[in-house]
Structures are given as C-alpha cells and as structure tokens.
Chain length 142, copies 2
Amino acid sequence: MNDACELCGKVFDKAVWKNDLAYLIDASDEIFPCFLRLVCRRHVKEMSDLSVEEQEGFWRMLRAVEETIIRRLQAHKVNYAQFGNMVPHLHWHVIARWRDDAFFPESPWGRQQREADPEVSRSRLALKDEMLEELVCKLEEA
Amino acid sequence: MNDACELCGKVFDKAVWKNDLAYLIDASDEIFPCFLRLVCRRHVKEMSDLSVEEQEGFWRMLRAVEETIIRRLQAHKVNYAQFGNMVPHLHWHVIARWRDDAFFPESPWGRQQREADPEVSRSRLALKDEMLEELVCKLEEA
C-alpha cells in the first residue's frame, strides 16, 4: 500500500469481488454498461513487477472476464486497456462494446459518436448485473 | 485469411518478426517512438477465439515485449490496448510512454498534450531500433 496512491486507498470498498491478487471493480454507467476493472492489490506499476505466476493469474482472470462477457452480453467486441499513466498502480480495463454504443467504433478513450439510448443502456446494465454473479463464480475457479 | 479484412492482407510485408501465432509490427513514429503491434496470424476477433494454449502464447509474447521495453528504453510506463472495433482482427498494441511524450498522461487514443521534441524522438526511435534486435531474440524463446 502506498499512501499517496489514489487506487490503494479507494478500491477496497467498491470491489465486487477480490482474491489475493486483484480487486474486481464495476465502473459501468449509461455510456459503457459493462466497464470492469481488475486492479492489482499490491502497489506495482507494470505487469513485469509481478512474478510470472502472478501475471499468469491476471491473464486467467482477464480470460474469465472476457469469456463471461461474450457468453452473457451479446457484445460485438471486448476491449482491453492497461495504461496507468495518470495513476501508476497496475489496473486493467475490460469493456464490452456494441455497434450502437456511444463511442463505437472509437475506443473508450476516443471521441463520443452519439448519445446512448437510455432504454438500451438500462437493459444492458441489468444484464451486466446478472452476468457479474456468474463472473464471480468463474473468477473463484480461474 | 479473410479477403475483406484490412489486416489479413496488409501486415505480412511489414512484419519485423513472425511465428506461427502472430506478426510483430513496428508502428512507431515521432509521436510514439516505440509503438508495437502483435497481430494474430489467424483471422479471429477475440482472445477467446484462440485455444487456451494460443492465448498463453500471446501473453508470453506480450511479456517479452514489455520486459524488453522496460529494460532497454527507460520508459516511464508501458501501455497495452486491444480494441479491434474498427478492424475486428485480433491485435494488441504495446506502447512505451515517457512523461514528456506528446500525449502523456493521456492514453494514445486521447488528446495530444504537446508537440513532440524532434531530437528526443529521433534518439528514442534509434534506441527502439536497437531494442527490436534483442526483442526478436526474446520472442523466439517466448
């Protein structure tokens, strides 16, 4: 834990799930109805600051997230990003994308293309909540 | 191979290196002096369209890229992204970031923050070229 780090202090309470290695955070909203984060518990900056075994643990968790998103949400694409330029504490974003979403085909860090349809967003947010229950079970096995 | 896919037809000639699973593409320029891509050889959309063994091969290659960037380029951060919204053919971007680069701390898909210093860019591009020689050896072992 690093007292100066925004993520070290903040993520614990908001975690949907956790294991020894990572917290799962649900950062979804109307714009991105399935926007998940896997945040490393330890304060490290890069994947290679982890042991190879820990890195493999991250990949298995990311695989469980992707597979569950694809199976449950009928998303058109899954997006991954790991930047950490602003908050240099290792965290992965995994985002479900649909062709009619507010930013498609731009990345979530690009320009918004259209307004999100509130009804579609609500329905996808509900599906995401259901999906999270299955995902937590999958992550326990990952 | 998918005839309608931009990546299927394009990447082969520009590859710095390849194995059975992926091409390594050097997409660096003055703005991002080390911007690399690992493009899947097969036309698939998502990581989970690959076998678990193939996915593990991708992770090992990504690890080799990150480790070599960190060791050789004194980069302040390594950025990963896998979107594929515009070209739905699996490819990973791995980008070395420096605090004084043109977009830092924004993602490479965000807003440019400043002009790149041409001299600094030239020096980093030269270091990146040297690094690629080592990286190709590392990838052979990955």
